[in-house]
Symmetry: C2
Subunit: 319 residues, 2 copies
Protein backbone atom coordinates (compact mmCIF):
# COMPACT_ATOMS: atom_id res chain seq x y z
CA UNK A 1 0.00 0.00 0.00
CA UNK A 2 1.31 3.43 -1.01
CA UNK A 3 1.11 6.12 1.66
CA UNK A 4 2.43 9.63 2.13
CA UNK A 5 3.53 11.10 5.45
CA UNK A 6 1.87 14.40 6.31
CA UNK A 7 3.34 16.63 9.02
CA UNK A 8 1.72 19.84 10.22
CA UNK A 9 3.98 22.02 12.33
CA UNK A 10 1.80 24.35 14.37
CA UNK A 11 2.54 26.77 17.18
CA UNK A 12 0.69 24.53 19.62
CA UNK A 13 0.71 21.01 18.17
CA UNK A 14 2.79 19.06 15.70
CA UNK A 15 0.47 16.63 13.91
CA UNK A 16 1.74 13.61 12.00
CA UNK A 17 -0.18 11.10 9.92
CA UNK A 18 -0.18 8.61 7.06
CA UNK A 19 -2.44 9.46 4.14
CA UNK A 20 -3.63 7.25 1.28
CA UNK A 21 -4.41 8.18 -2.34
CA UNK A 22 -7.99 9.12 -1.48
CA UNK A 23 -6.92 11.64 1.11
CA UNK A 24 -7.88 9.42 4.03
CA UNK A 25 -5.67 9.76 7.03
CA UNK A 26 -5.14 6.16 8.20
CA UNK A 27 -3.01 6.93 11.23
CA UNK A 28 -2.58 10.21 13.02
CA UNK A 29 -1.04 11.45 16.21
CA UNK A 30 0.42 14.63 17.67
CA UNK A 31 2.78 16.02 20.26
CA UNK A 32 3.12 19.48 21.77
CA UNK A 33 5.54 21.60 19.76
CA UNK A 34 6.73 23.77 22.64
CA UNK A 35 7.87 20.72 24.63
CA UNK A 36 10.82 20.51 22.20
CA UNK A 37 12.34 23.98 22.18
CA UNK A 38 15.64 22.59 20.89
CA UNK A 39 15.48 22.02 17.12
CA UNK A 40 17.53 18.81 17.08
CA UNK A 41 15.37 17.28 19.84
CA UNK A 42 12.29 18.35 17.93
CA UNK A 43 13.43 16.67 14.72
CA UNK A 44 14.37 13.51 16.64
CA UNK A 45 10.87 13.52 18.10
CA UNK A 46 9.36 13.77 14.60
CA UNK A 47 11.49 10.87 13.43
CA UNK A 48 10.53 8.66 16.39
CA UNK A 49 6.85 9.57 15.99
CA UNK A 50 6.93 8.62 12.31
CA UNK A 51 8.62 5.31 13.16
CA UNK A 52 5.97 4.66 15.77
CA UNK A 53 3.00 5.10 13.45
CA UNK A 54 4.74 3.16 10.67
CA UNK A 55 5.23 0.29 13.13
CA UNK A 56 1.45 -0.17 13.17
CA UNK A 57 1.88 -1.78 9.76
CA UNK A 58 4.09 -4.77 10.54
CA UNK A 59 3.56 -6.07 7.01
CA UNK A 60 5.19 -2.83 5.78
CA UNK A 61 3.94 0.05 3.67
CA UNK A 62 5.46 1.91 0.74
CA UNK A 63 6.13 5.49 1.87
CA UNK A 64 6.15 7.78 -1.18
CA UNK A 65 7.53 10.75 0.68
CA UNK A 66 6.92 13.31 3.36
CA UNK A 67 5.02 16.59 3.00
CA UNK A 68 5.29 19.30 5.64
CA UNK A 69 3.10 22.30 6.30
CA UNK A 70 4.55 25.01 8.55
CA UNK A 71 4.11 28.71 9.21
CA UNK A 72 6.54 30.99 7.36
CA UNK A 73 7.89 28.07 5.33
CA UNK A 74 9.69 28.76 2.07
CA UNK A 75 8.90 26.04 -0.44
CA UNK A 76 11.78 27.22 -2.57
CA UNK A 77 14.49 26.96 0.09
CA UNK A 78 13.06 24.28 2.36
CA UNK A 79 13.35 26.60 5.33
CA UNK A 80 11.20 28.16 8.04
CA UNK A 81 12.01 31.84 8.56
CA UNK A 82 11.26 33.86 11.70
CA UNK A 83 8.01 32.09 12.45
CA UNK A 84 6.54 34.11 15.27
CA UNK A 85 4.55 31.22 16.73
CA UNK A 86 7.49 28.79 16.83
CA UNK A 87 10.45 28.62 19.20
CA UNK A 88 13.26 28.62 16.64
CA UNK A 89 14.28 32.04 15.43
CA UNK A 90 16.09 33.04 12.26
CA UNK A 91 16.25 30.76 9.22
CA UNK A 92 15.77 27.07 10.02
CA UNK A 93 16.88 24.62 7.24
CA UNK A 94 14.29 22.14 8.40
CA UNK A 95 13.92 20.12 5.20
CA UNK A 96 17.62 19.37 4.93
CA UNK A 97 17.89 18.42 8.61
CA UNK A 98 14.84 16.21 8.57
CA UNK A 99 15.95 14.54 5.36
CA UNK A 100 19.17 13.46 7.09
CA UNK A 101 17.03 11.58 9.61
CA UNK A 102 14.45 10.32 7.10
CA UNK A 103 15.88 9.99 3.57
CA UNK A 104 12.92 10.18 1.18
CA UNK A 105 11.28 12.72 -1.18
CA UNK A 106 10.33 15.70 0.95
CA UNK A 107 8.50 18.98 0.42
CA UNK A 108 7.65 21.85 2.72
CA UNK A 109 5.19 24.65 2.24
CA UNK A 110 3.37 27.37 4.12
CA UNK A 111 0.77 25.42 6.16
CA UNK A 112 -2.14 27.18 4.51
CA UNK A 113 -0.79 26.54 1.01
CA UNK A 114 -0.48 22.88 1.92
CA UNK A 115 -4.09 22.95 3.11
CA UNK A 116 -5.06 24.49 -0.25
CA UNK A 117 -3.34 21.65 -2.08
CA UNK A 118 -5.21 19.17 0.12
CA UNK A 119 -8.54 20.81 -0.57
CA UNK A 120 -7.85 20.78 -4.33
CA UNK A 121 -6.81 17.13 -4.42
CA UNK A 122 -9.11 15.62 -1.81
CA UNK A 123 -11.65 18.16 -0.54
CA UNK A 124 -14.29 20.70 -1.49
CA UNK A 125 -12.13 22.68 -3.93
CA UNK A 126 -11.96 19.91 -6.53
CA UNK A 127 -12.44 21.56 -9.93
CA UNK A 128 -12.04 25.12 -8.63
CA UNK A 129 -9.43 27.31 -10.32
CA UNK A 130 -9.49 30.32 -7.99
CA UNK A 131 -9.92 30.01 -4.25
CA UNK A 132 -8.23 30.98 -0.99
CA UNK A 133 -7.73 28.93 2.15
CA UNK A 134 -7.69 30.83 5.42
CA UNK A 135 -6.34 28.99 8.48
CA UNK A 136 -7.34 30.46 11.81
CA UNK A 137 -5.27 28.66 14.40
CA UNK A 138 -2.67 30.07 16.77
CA UNK A 139 -1.92 32.42 13.87
CA UNK A 140 -3.57 33.47 10.61
CA UNK A 141 -2.45 31.76 7.40
CA UNK A 142 -3.53 31.92 3.78
CA UNK A 143 -3.07 29.65 0.78
CA UNK A 144 -3.93 31.21 -2.55
CA UNK A 145 -4.82 29.31 -5.72
CA UNK A 146 -5.12 31.31 -8.96
CA UNK A 147 -5.49 29.86 -12.45
CA UNK A 148 -5.56 26.41 -10.84
CA UNK A 149 -2.08 26.76 -9.35
CA UNK A 150 -0.78 27.57 -5.90
CA UNK A 151 0.61 31.09 -5.72
CA UNK A 152 4.10 30.69 -4.32
CA UNK A 153 5.58 34.11 -4.90
CA UNK A 154 9.05 35.12 -5.91
CA UNK A 155 10.81 33.06 -3.27
CA UNK A 156 8.04 31.08 -1.69
CA UNK A 157 6.56 33.55 0.80
CA UNK A 158 3.25 34.42 -0.79
CA UNK A 159 0.11 34.36 1.34
CA UNK A 160 1.41 35.90 4.57
CA UNK A 161 -1.89 37.70 4.98
CA UNK A 162 -1.85 37.53 8.76
CA UNK A 163 0.57 40.43 8.68
CA UNK A 164 -1.49 42.68 6.48
CA UNK A 165 -1.92 46.01 8.22
CA UNK A 166 -5.55 46.62 9.14
CA UNK A 167 -4.99 49.92 10.99
CA UNK A 168 -7.76 49.11 13.47
CA UNK A 169 -8.45 51.40 16.41
CA UNK A 170 -6.49 49.62 19.13
CA UNK A 171 -3.42 48.96 16.93
CA UNK A 172 -2.28 45.60 18.33
CA UNK A 173 1.08 44.19 17.34
CA UNK A 174 1.41 40.81 15.61
CA UNK A 175 4.28 38.47 16.36
CA UNK A 176 6.06 40.13 13.42
CA UNK A 177 5.54 43.51 15.10
CA UNK A 178 3.07 44.67 12.50
CA UNK A 179 0.85 47.23 14.21
CA UNK A 180 -2.78 46.43 13.55
CA UNK A 181 -1.82 43.25 11.69
CA UNK A 182 -4.72 40.95 10.90
CA UNK A 183 -3.40 37.96 12.86
CA UNK A 184 -3.49 40.01 16.07
CA UNK A 185 -7.28 40.10 15.68
CA UNK A 186 -8.39 37.13 13.62
CA UNK A 187 -6.98 33.89 15.00
CA UNK A 188 -7.58 31.80 18.10
CA UNK A 189 -5.09 34.03 19.92
CA UNK A 190 -6.63 37.19 18.47
CA UNK A 191 -10.05 36.20 19.82
CA UNK A 192 -8.58 35.78 23.30
CA UNK A 193 -6.96 39.21 23.03
CA UNK A 194 -10.33 40.62 21.98
CA UNK A 195 -11.92 39.19 25.13
CA UNK A 196 -9.47 41.37 27.11
CA UNK A 197 -10.19 44.36 24.87
CA UNK A 198 -13.95 44.02 25.38
CA UNK A 199 -13.61 43.63 29.16
CA UNK A 200 -11.46 46.77 29.12
CA UNK A 201 -13.87 48.71 26.91
CA UNK A 202 -17.16 47.65 28.51
CA UNK A 203 -18.16 46.98 32.11
CA UNK A 204 -20.51 44.05 31.35
CA UNK A 205 -20.46 41.13 33.73
CA UNK A 206 -18.70 38.14 32.19
CA UNK A 207 -17.36 34.76 33.24
CA UNK A 208 -14.07 35.84 31.71
CA UNK A 209 -13.52 38.34 34.51
CA UNK A 210 -12.66 35.30 36.64
CA UNK A 211 -10.34 33.59 34.14
CA UNK A 212 -6.71 34.53 33.57
CA UNK A 213 -5.60 35.05 29.96
CA UNK A 214 -3.27 32.05 30.04
CA UNK A 215 -6.07 29.81 31.33
CA UNK A 216 -8.47 30.87 28.60
CA UNK A 217 -9.24 28.44 25.76
CA UNK A 218 -11.13 29.05 22.56
CA UNK A 219 -13.86 26.47 23.24
CA UNK A 220 -14.90 28.34 26.38
CA UNK A 221 -15.61 31.46 24.37
CA UNK A 222 -18.15 29.61 22.20
CA UNK A 223 -19.67 28.09 25.32
CA UNK A 224 -19.98 31.53 26.91
CA UNK A 225 -21.61 32.91 23.75
CA UNK A 226 -24.09 30.03 23.91
CA UNK A 227 -24.99 31.19 27.43
CA UNK A 228 -25.41 34.77 26.29
CA UNK A 229 -22.20 36.15 27.84
CA UNK A 230 -22.13 39.75 26.49
CA UNK A 231 -18.34 39.93 26.35
CA UNK A 232 -18.13 36.71 24.30
CA UNK A 233 -20.86 37.94 21.94
CA UNK A 234 -19.15 41.30 21.47
CA UNK A 235 -15.82 39.57 20.87
CA UNK A 236 -17.25 37.33 18.13
CA UNK A 237 -18.99 40.25 16.45
CA UNK A 238 -15.81 42.34 16.49
CA UNK A 239 -13.74 39.44 15.11
CA UNK A 240 -16.25 38.70 12.36
CA UNK A 241 -16.33 42.38 11.40
CA UNK A 242 -12.56 42.53 10.91
CA UNK A 243 -12.42 39.16 9.14
CA UNK A 244 -15.30 40.22 6.89
CA UNK A 245 -13.49 43.40 5.90
CA UNK A 246 -10.26 41.49 5.32
CA UNK A 247 -11.90 38.85 3.11
CA UNK A 248 -13.70 41.58 1.15
CA UNK A 249 -10.34 43.28 0.60
CA UNK A 250 -8.71 39.99 -0.43
CA UNK A 251 -11.49 39.44 -2.94
CA UNK A 252 -10.36 42.56 -4.80
CA UNK A 253 -6.98 40.88 -5.20
CA UNK A 254 -7.51 37.52 -6.91
CA UNK A 255 -11.32 37.36 -6.94
CA UNK A 256 -11.65 33.83 -5.59
CA UNK A 257 -14.72 31.71 -6.23
CA UNK A 258 -14.61 30.72 -2.56
CA UNK A 259 -12.82 31.18 0.73
CA UNK A 260 -12.34 28.04 2.79
CA UNK A 261 -12.04 28.72 6.50
CA UNK A 262 -10.32 26.22 8.75
CA UNK A 263 -8.48 25.97 12.05
CA UNK A 264 -9.42 26.35 15.70
CA UNK A 265 -11.50 29.50 15.36
CA UNK A 266 -13.81 27.76 12.87
CA UNK A 267 -14.93 25.40 15.65
CA UNK A 268 -16.85 28.37 17.06
CA UNK A 269 -19.32 27.64 14.24
CA UNK A 270 -22.31 29.96 13.98
CA UNK A 271 -20.87 32.39 16.51
CA UNK A 272 -18.27 33.39 13.99
CA UNK A 273 -19.96 32.42 10.68
CA UNK A 274 -23.33 34.15 11.18
CA UNK A 275 -21.92 37.65 11.74
CA UNK A 276 -19.14 36.95 9.22
CA UNK A 277 -21.56 36.31 6.35
CA UNK A 278 -23.32 39.60 7.08
CA UNK A 279 -20.18 41.73 7.37
CA UNK A 280 -18.49 40.10 4.38
CA UNK A 281 -21.38 40.78 1.99
CA UNK A 282 -21.68 44.32 3.38
CA UNK A 283 -18.03 45.09 2.70
CA UNK A 284 -17.85 43.46 -0.76
CA UNK A 285 -17.72 45.78 -3.74
CA UNK A 286 -20.96 45.88 -5.69
CA UNK A 287 -19.68 43.71 -8.54
CA UNK A 288 -18.50 40.94 -6.21
CA UNK A 289 -21.64 40.71 -4.08
CA UNK A 290 -23.32 37.31 -4.04
CA UNK A 291 -20.51 35.70 -6.04
CA UNK A 292 -17.98 34.66 -3.39
CA UNK A 293 -18.69 31.64 -1.20
CA UNK A 294 -17.54 31.17 2.39
CA UNK A 295 -17.03 27.42 2.82
CA UNK A 296 -15.63 24.93 5.25
CA UNK A 297 -13.12 22.26 4.42
CA UNK A 298 -14.30 19.00 2.88
CA UNK A 299 -11.67 17.10 4.85
CA UNK A 300 -12.44 15.96 8.42
CA UNK A 301 -11.31 18.78 10.75
CA UNK A 302 -8.84 16.86 12.86
CA UNK A 303 -6.80 15.75 9.84
CA UNK A 304 -7.16 18.67 7.40
CA UNK A 305 -3.65 19.92 8.01
CA UNK A 306 -2.08 16.46 7.82
CA UNK A 307 -3.90 15.65 4.56
CA UNK A 308 -2.82 19.00 3.13
CA UNK A 309 0.82 18.32 3.94
CA UNK A 310 0.57 14.81 2.46
CA UNK A 311 -1.08 16.27 -0.66
CA UNK A 312 2.26 17.93 -1.48
CA UNK A 313 3.55 14.40 -2.12
CA UNK A 314 0.37 13.00 -3.67
CA UNK A 315 0.21 15.78 -6.26
CA UNK A 316 3.26 14.17 -7.89
CA UNK A 317 1.50 10.80 -8.14
CA UNK A 318 -1.72 9.95 -9.90
CA UNK A 319 -4.54 10.32 -7.40
CA UNK B 1 2.80 44.14 -42.23
CA UNK B 2 0.94 42.57 -39.29
CA UNK B 3 -0.32 45.03 -36.69
CA UNK B 4 -2.60 44.90 -33.66
CA UNK B 5 -4.91 47.70 -32.61
CA UNK B 6 -4.51 48.77 -29.00
CA UNK B 7 -7.21 50.84 -27.29
CA UNK B 8 -6.90 52.22 -23.78
CA UNK B 9 -10.16 53.51 -22.34
CA UNK B 10 -9.32 55.90 -19.53
CA UNK B 11 -11.42 58.25 -17.43
CA UNK B 12 -9.77 61.23 -19.12
CA UNK B 13 -8.45 60.06 -22.48
CA UNK B 14 -9.17 57.24 -24.90
CA UNK B 15 -5.88 56.31 -26.57
CA UNK B 16 -5.72 54.33 -29.79
CA UNK B 17 -2.70 53.01 -31.65
CA UNK B 18 -1.25 50.41 -34.01
CA UNK B 19 1.40 48.15 -32.52
CA UNK B 20 3.86 45.85 -34.28
CA UNK B 21 5.32 42.53 -33.13
CA UNK B 22 8.13 44.25 -31.24
CA UNK B 23 5.75 46.30 -29.15
CA UNK B 24 6.45 49.51 -31.05
CA UNK B 25 3.50 51.78 -31.37
CA UNK B 26 3.67 52.98 -34.99
CA UNK B 27 0.68 55.28 -34.88
CA UNK B 28 -1.09 56.69 -31.88
CA UNK B 29 -3.73 59.26 -31.16
CA UNK B 30 -6.33 60.06 -28.53
CA UNK B 31 -9.59 61.84 -27.89
CA UNK B 32 -11.25 62.99 -24.65
CA UNK B 33 -13.51 60.27 -23.26
CA UNK B 34 -15.96 62.61 -21.55
CA UNK B 35 -16.73 64.38 -24.83
CA UNK B 36 -18.73 61.28 -25.83
CA UNK B 37 -21.08 60.63 -22.89
CA UNK B 38 -23.40 58.60 -25.13
CA UNK B 39 -22.07 55.08 -25.58
CA UNK B 40 -23.11 54.69 -29.23
CA UNK B 41 -21.45 58.00 -30.14
CA UNK B 42 -18.36 56.93 -28.23
CA UNK B 43 -18.08 53.64 -30.11
CA UNK B 44 -18.63 55.43 -33.44
CA UNK B 45 -15.79 57.77 -32.48
CA UNK B 46 -13.51 54.80 -31.76
CA UNK B 47 -14.38 53.28 -35.14
CA UNK B 48 -13.70 56.52 -37.04
CA UNK B 49 -10.44 57.06 -35.14
CA UNK B 50 -9.24 53.56 -36.03
CA UNK B 51 -10.16 54.14 -39.69
CA UNK B 52 -8.24 57.40 -39.59
CA UNK B 53 -4.97 55.92 -38.32
CA UNK B 54 -5.30 52.91 -40.62
CA UNK B 55 -5.65 55.33 -43.55
CA UNK B 56 -2.05 56.41 -42.97
CA UNK B 57 -1.08 53.12 -44.58
CA UNK B 58 -2.55 53.47 -48.09
CA UNK B 59 -0.75 50.30 -49.15
CA UNK B 60 -2.76 48.48 -46.47
CA UNK B 61 -1.83 46.59 -43.31
CA UNK B 62 -2.94 43.25 -41.92
CA UNK B 63 -4.84 43.92 -38.67
CA UNK B 64 -4.63 40.85 -36.44
CA UNK B 65 -7.21 42.08 -33.98
CA UNK B 66 -8.05 44.67 -31.40
CA UNK B 67 -7.11 44.62 -27.73
CA UNK B 68 -8.81 46.91 -25.22
CA UNK B 69 -7.77 47.93 -21.75
CA UNK B 70 -10.44 49.52 -19.57
CA UNK B 71 -11.22 50.05 -15.90
CA UNK B 72 -13.56 47.47 -14.36
CA UNK B 73 -13.47 45.35 -17.50
CA UNK B 74 -14.43 41.70 -17.29
CA UNK B 75 -12.30 39.66 -19.66
CA UNK B 76 -14.69 36.77 -19.28
CA UNK B 77 -17.85 38.63 -20.32
CA UNK B 78 -16.43 41.35 -22.53
CA UNK B 79 -18.11 43.99 -20.42
CA UNK B 80 -17.30 47.07 -18.36
CA UNK B 81 -19.18 47.11 -15.05
CA UNK B 82 -19.90 50.21 -12.95
CA UNK B 83 -16.60 51.91 -13.78
CA UNK B 84 -16.57 54.89 -11.45
CA UNK B 85 -14.36 57.01 -13.72
CA UNK B 86 -16.45 56.48 -16.87
CA UNK B 87 -19.77 57.99 -17.88
CA UNK B 88 -21.65 54.78 -18.63
CA UNK B 89 -23.18 53.12 -15.60
CA UNK B 90 -24.25 49.52 -15.08
CA UNK B 91 -22.97 46.71 -17.28
CA UNK B 92 -21.74 47.83 -20.70
CA UNK B 93 -21.35 45.02 -23.30
CA UNK B 94 -18.60 46.99 -25.00
CA UNK B 95 -16.86 44.13 -26.81
CA UNK B 96 -20.01 42.95 -28.54
CA UNK B 97 -21.02 46.48 -29.57
CA UNK B 98 -17.59 47.38 -30.86
CA UNK B 99 -17.29 44.09 -32.73
CA UNK B 100 -20.46 44.97 -34.67
CA UNK B 101 -18.65 48.07 -35.93
CA UNK B 102 -15.24 46.44 -36.40
CA UNK B 103 -15.52 42.69 -37.08
CA UNK B 104 -12.17 41.18 -36.02
CA UNK B 105 -10.69 39.18 -33.12
CA UNK B 106 -11.21 41.30 -30.02
CA UNK B 107 -10.26 41.06 -26.35
CA UNK B 108 -10.88 43.31 -23.39
CA UNK B 109 -9.22 43.32 -20.01
CA UNK B 110 -8.78 45.43 -16.91
CA UNK B 111 -6.42 48.20 -18.09
CA UNK B 112 -3.75 47.30 -15.58
CA UNK B 113 -3.87 43.61 -16.52
CA UNK B 114 -3.42 44.65 -20.14
CA UNK B 115 -0.42 46.74 -19.08
CA UNK B 116 0.96 43.67 -17.30
CA UNK B 117 0.64 41.63 -20.47
CA UNK B 118 2.44 44.40 -22.38
CA UNK B 119 5.25 44.53 -19.85
CA UNK B 120 5.65 40.74 -20.02
CA UNK B 121 5.70 40.60 -23.82
CA UNK B 122 7.52 43.82 -24.68
CA UNK B 123 8.84 45.54 -21.54
CA UNK B 124 10.84 45.18 -18.36
CA UNK B 125 8.98 42.15 -17.03
CA UNK B 126 10.30 39.77 -19.70
CA UNK B 127 11.21 36.52 -17.93
CA UNK B 128 9.53 37.46 -14.63
CA UNK B 129 6.99 34.99 -13.24
CA UNK B 130 5.61 37.05 -10.36
CA UNK B 131 5.05 40.76 -10.59
CA UNK B 132 2.35 43.40 -10.17
CA UNK B 133 1.59 46.43 -12.31
CA UNK B 134 0.14 49.45 -10.55
CA UNK B 135 -1.46 52.12 -12.72
CA UNK B 136 -1.84 55.51 -11.08
CA UNK B 137 -3.97 57.57 -13.42
CA UNK B 138 -7.41 59.05 -12.80
CA UNK B 139 -7.94 55.92 -10.74
CA UNK B 140 -5.80 53.16 -9.21
CA UNK B 141 -5.49 49.88 -11.12
CA UNK B 142 -3.54 46.67 -10.63
CA UNK B 143 -2.53 43.82 -12.90
CA UNK B 144 -1.25 40.75 -11.10
CA UNK B 145 0.95 38.05 -12.63
CA UNK B 146 1.58 34.89 -10.60
CA UNK B 147 3.27 31.72 -11.84
CA UNK B 148 3.83 33.51 -15.16
CA UNK B 149 0.10 33.98 -15.80
CA UNK B 150 -2.26 36.91 -15.42
CA UNK B 151 -4.54 36.50 -12.43
CA UNK B 152 -8.05 36.92 -13.80
CA UNK B 153 -10.18 35.77 -10.92
CA UNK B 154 -13.38 33.79 -10.87
CA UNK B 155 -15.17 35.97 -13.37
CA UNK B 156 -12.54 38.37 -14.55
CA UNK B 157 -12.51 41.01 -11.80
CA UNK B 158 -9.24 40.31 -10.03
CA UNK B 159 -6.91 43.20 -9.22
CA UNK B 160 -9.42 45.86 -8.16
CA UNK B 161 -6.96 47.02 -5.53
CA UNK B 162 -7.98 50.65 -5.75
CA UNK B 163 -10.98 49.75 -3.63
CA UNK B 164 -9.06 48.05 -0.86
CA UNK B 165 -10.05 49.63 2.43
CA UNK B 166 -7.11 51.45 4.02
CA UNK B 167 -9.03 52.85 7.02
CA UNK B 168 -6.94 56.02 6.96
CA UNK B 169 -7.75 58.91 9.30
CA UNK B 170 -9.80 61.10 6.99
CA UNK B 171 -11.85 58.20 5.56
CA UNK B 172 -12.37 59.46 2.00
CA UNK B 173 -14.83 57.69 -0.27
CA UNK B 174 -13.74 56.17 -3.59
CA UNK B 175 -15.97 56.27 -6.65
CA UNK B 176 -17.25 52.86 -5.51
CA UNK B 177 -18.15 54.40 -2.13
CA UNK B 178 -15.47 52.47 -0.29
CA UNK B 179 -14.60 54.53 2.77
CA UNK B 180 -10.84 54.91 3.01
CA UNK B 181 -10.35 53.11 -0.32
CA UNK B 182 -6.84 53.27 -1.71
CA UNK B 183 -7.78 54.99 -4.96
CA UNK B 184 -9.15 57.96 -3.02
CA UNK B 185 -5.55 58.60 -1.89
CA UNK B 186 -3.16 57.11 -4.40
CA UNK B 187 -3.98 58.27 -7.93
CA UNK B 188 -3.70 61.55 -9.80
CA UNK B 189 -7.11 62.48 -8.37
CA UNK B 190 -6.13 61.29 -4.90
CA UNK B 191 -3.08 63.56 -4.92
CA UNK B 192 -5.29 66.55 -5.76
CA UNK B 193 -7.63 65.64 -2.91
CA UNK B 194 -4.61 65.43 -0.61
CA UNK B 195 -3.62 68.98 -1.56
CA UNK B 196 -7.01 70.07 -0.18
CA UNK B 197 -6.53 67.92 2.92
CA UNK B 198 -3.11 69.45 3.64
CA UNK B 199 -4.37 73.01 3.13
CA UNK B 200 -7.18 72.19 5.55
CA UNK B 201 -4.89 70.57 8.10
CA UNK B 202 -2.00 73.06 7.98
CA UNK B 203 -1.89 76.82 7.58
CA UNK B 204 1.30 76.90 5.41
CA UNK B 205 1.38 79.37 2.57
CA UNK B 206 1.00 77.65 -0.79
CA UNK B 207 0.37 78.51 -4.41
CA UNK B 208 -2.54 76.09 -4.25
CA UNK B 209 -4.49 78.47 -2.04
CA UNK B 210 -5.04 80.49 -5.23
CA UNK B 211 -6.05 77.60 -7.48
CA UNK B 212 -9.48 76.00 -7.57
CA UNK B 213 -9.67 72.22 -7.34
CA UNK B 214 -11.03 71.87 -10.87
CA UNK B 215 -8.19 74.00 -12.26
CA UNK B 216 -5.50 71.95 -10.56
CA UNK B 217 -3.36 69.58 -12.66
CA UNK B 218 -0.91 66.97 -11.51
CA UNK B 219 2.13 68.50 -13.25
CA UNK B 220 1.72 71.69 -11.20
CA UNK B 221 2.08 69.74 -7.98
CA UNK B 222 5.51 68.45 -9.02
CA UNK B 223 6.47 71.95 -10.11
CA UNK B 224 5.40 73.34 -6.75
CA UNK B 225 7.40 70.65 -4.91
CA UNK B 226 10.43 71.65 -6.98
CA UNK B 227 9.98 75.20 -5.67
CA UNK B 228 9.70 73.96 -2.09
CA UNK B 229 5.95 74.52 -1.68
CA UNK B 230 5.28 72.96 1.77
CA UNK B 231 1.76 71.81 0.91
CA UNK B 232 3.01 70.01 -2.22
CA UNK B 233 5.83 68.36 -0.26
CA UNK B 234 3.48 67.24 2.51
CA UNK B 235 1.05 65.88 -0.09
CA UNK B 236 3.72 63.79 -1.80
CA UNK B 237 5.00 62.45 1.51
CA UNK B 238 1.49 61.50 2.63
CA UNK B 239 0.74 59.82 -0.71
CA UNK B 240 4.02 57.89 -0.70
CA UNK B 241 3.35 56.75 2.87
CA UNK B 242 -0.04 55.27 1.97
CA UNK B 243 1.23 53.75 -1.28
CA UNK B 244 4.23 52.29 0.56
CA UNK B 245 1.97 50.66 3.13
CA UNK B 246 -0.35 49.37 0.41
CA UNK B 247 2.49 47.83 -1.64
CA UNK B 248 3.95 46.25 1.51
CA UNK B 249 0.55 44.72 2.22
CA UNK B 250 0.21 43.51 -1.37
CA UNK B 251 3.63 41.87 -1.11
CA UNK B 252 2.24 39.60 1.60
CA UNK B 253 -0.32 38.43 -0.93
CA UNK B 254 1.55 37.12 -3.98
CA UNK B 255 5.12 38.13 -3.08
CA UNK B 256 6.00 39.71 -6.43
CA UNK B 257 9.57 40.07 -7.61
CA UNK B 258 8.75 43.64 -8.63
CA UNK B 259 6.07 46.28 -8.74
CA UNK B 260 5.90 48.33 -11.92
CA UNK B 261 4.42 51.76 -11.39
CA UNK B 262 2.90 53.63 -14.30
CA UNK B 263 0.35 56.32 -15.09
CA UNK B 264 0.13 60.06 -14.52
CA UNK B 265 1.29 60.08 -10.91
CA UNK B 266 4.58 58.42 -11.89
CA UNK B 267 5.49 61.54 -13.88
CA UNK B 268 6.07 63.23 -10.53
CA UNK B 269 9.33 61.23 -10.51
CA UNK B 270 11.52 61.62 -7.44
CA UNK B 271 8.84 63.52 -5.51
CA UNK B 272 6.84 60.34 -5.27
CA UNK B 273 9.58 57.69 -5.69
CA UNK B 274 12.08 58.93 -3.09
CA UNK B 275 9.69 58.87 -0.13
CA UNK B 276 8.00 55.76 -1.55
CA UNK B 277 11.19 53.69 -1.44
CA UNK B 278 11.74 54.65 2.18
CA UNK B 279 8.18 53.96 3.36
CA UNK B 280 7.89 50.75 1.36
CA UNK B 281 11.03 49.17 2.85
CA UNK B 282 9.96 50.34 6.32
CA UNK B 283 6.58 48.68 6.05
CA UNK B 284 7.80 45.40 4.48
CA UNK B 285 7.88 42.36 6.72
CA UNK B 286 11.38 41.33 7.72
CA UNK B 287 11.58 38.41 5.32
CA UNK B 288 10.59 40.50 2.30
CA UNK B 289 12.96 43.40 2.94
CA UNK B 290 15.42 44.11 0.12
CA UNK B 291 13.80 41.55 -2.18
CA UNK B 292 11.02 43.48 -3.90
CA UNK B 293 11.88 45.96 -6.64
CA UNK B 294 9.97 49.13 -7.47
CA UNK B 295 10.39 49.65 -11.21
CA UNK B 296 9.10 51.77 -14.03
CA UNK B 297 7.71 50.46 -17.27
CA UNK B 298 10.11 49.50 -20.07
CA UNK B 299 7.67 50.82 -22.65
CA UNK B 300 7.70 54.53 -23.55
CA UNK B 301 5.25 56.28 -21.19
CA UNK B 302 2.92 57.78 -23.75
CA UNK B 303 2.18 54.40 -25.35
CA UNK B 304 2.38 51.96 -22.40
CA UNK B 305 -1.36 51.53 -22.19
CA UNK B 306 -1.82 51.15 -25.95
CA UNK B 307 0.95 48.55 -26.18
CA UNK B 308 -0.55 46.69 -23.23
CA UNK B 309 -3.93 46.53 -24.92
CA UNK B 310 -2.36 45.40 -28.21
CA UNK B 311 -0.38 42.73 -26.30
CA UNK B 312 -3.69 40.96 -25.61
CA UNK B 313 -3.76 40.22 -29.35
CA UNK B 314 -0.03 39.67 -29.78
CA UNK B 315 0.08 37.03 -27.02
CA UNK B 316 -1.87 34.75 -29.41
CA UNK B 317 0.73 35.22 -32.18
CA UNK B 318 4.42 34.43 -32.07
CA UNK B 319 6.24 37.56 -30.95
Amino acid sequence: MDLAIGIDIGGTKTKIGLVNNEGHCLEDTFFRTKEYPNLEDYLDKIKSTVDEIKSKYPEGVNILGCGIGAPNASSRNGTIVNASNLNWKGTVPILEKLNERMPMPMKIMNDASAAAMGEMLFGNAKGMKDFIIITLGTGFGAGIVANGKLVDGYDGFAGELGHVDMTIGDGRLTGQNVRGGLEAYVSATGLKRTILFMMCKYMDESRFRDIAYNDLHGEEISKAAEEGDPIALKAFDFTADILGMALANFTAFTQPEAFFLMGGLVNSGKWIFDPLHKYFEDYLLEFYKGKVKLLQSGIPGKTTAICGAAALIWEDHSV
